[in-house]
């Protein structure tokens, strides 16, 4: 199971706790995680990536294993420790005030 941590506002929308578990087959990629997340929690569609272009929202970042993966290809395989559920994949709201 993939472990996913999402921002507080999205937890409220999806009625979930701090960590979401997703069952994803190989290869585990950012795109596969978001596809599975939106399939399970359709209320989150459009909140992380654009509904039409699928571009990541500019004020959100993707981290895992202490690495910023925001600018990696969404189809690139994620680190093995994310794929086996040892480390979580984090969706972080940029610190931009407000």
């Amino acid at each position: 199971m993939i472990r996913l941590i999402i921002p507080q506002h999205l937890r409220i929308l999806a009625h979930v706790g701090s960590e979401v578990s997703l069952d994803i087959g190989a290869p585990v990629t950012t795109c596969a995680i978001l596809d599975a997340l939106e399939e399970q929690y359709p209320m989150l569609r459009g909140t992380i990536r654009d509904q039409v272009t699928h571009a990541r929202r500019p004020f959100l970042r993707f981290f895992a294993c202490e690495v910023d993966l925001s600018h990696e290809s969404p189809d690139a395989p994620l680190p093995e420790s994310v794929a086996i559920g040892k480390e979580p994949f984090l969706i972080i709201a940029a610190i931009a005030g407000g």
Binding site: G46, Q51, R57, F59, L60
Partner: protein, 395 residues
Amino acid sequence: MSKIRVLVGTRKGAFILSSDGKREKWDVSGPHFAGWEIYHMKGSPVDPNRIYVSQTSGWFGQLIQRSDDGGKTWHQPGTPAGESTKTPDGMPKSESNKFAYDTTPATGKPLTTHQFYDGTQRPWEFKRVWHLEPSLTDPETVYAGVEDAAIFRSTDGARNWQELTGLRGHGTGPQWQPGAGGMCLHTIIQDPGNPLRMYIAISAAGAFRTDDSGETWKPINRGLHSQYIPDPNAEVGHCVHHIAMHPSQPDVLFMQKHWDVMRSDNAGDSWTEVSGNLPTDFGFVIDVHANEPDTIYVVPIKSDSEHFVPDGKLRVYRSRTGGNEWEALSKGLPQSNCYVNVLRDAMAVDQLDKCGIYFGTSGGQVYVSPDAGDSWNAIVHNLPAVLSVEVQTLP
């Protein structure tokens, strides 16, 4: 006795203020959607318990929320959890927050361009929903005015949205430009006597009218004069801030332009200035008394470079003559050291015999006048900055 429900959208959530017809004691519910910008919330005239909400965020984009029980509970219309988000043939379903400009050859227009602040051309890019206008006859039908300026319609309770492409694509788009708040379509008015007719307004493009249910649109800006565009009398490019209409006189429109308060007596075909003796004719809101079609209200703002009321005094101005002759209304409003603004969708009226007037400020106050403006009371003092105010008069 009738009840009043005031729907308040703020920078950090939605609030619902409820009272009986006396409008003296108020219950405050909220914040709903805490931390999100609520640009607008409005109830269906057909089913007042059906309330649509525009919920938006710089981080997470646009959402639409809906209540079917008068604001007690909310949900996002669209695909329920656990149901596939794809159709049986693999196509992604539309969602309540999916506002995709229609660029299909059959029904849409190419992704046209508009002016950016610096005069260069930019393609349309969806940013947020500024205004939701439920149908006068069908609770499932609702219109959305969005930034970048376009109008969308849902006929299934906000589950799916389709652009009315005739507006964005009718030809003058390259002359439209964003105002300080963005290039937003902020006003949608349906003609109660003519279901084919509707008015919209855009900052900064102007006012437009359709006479065929949104298929085609035409600019209705003759008589507007704006110094901030190369041709001050141009067909489009005017920064219209808000338009109001009384349902008994659907051909009479009142407009608060960037500068100038205007009036049309022929459904927008031409406009005349009715700023009269206002201390400044810059402002955002304008509204009409529920029972007196020629009694109108504005809140003059000092200037477009100082977005607060003049002289540190919060004053609503009322004209009982449809413009030109204005009186200041200040009883109960702060008259010193007040520097708030009142945004374009932040004034509304109720439908009681003694018409109530409501407005919200950038300082988080929501005021009510239960006597048509003669005196005012603050319902709440310290909400986040108020973006919109709508009022429902309930049996």
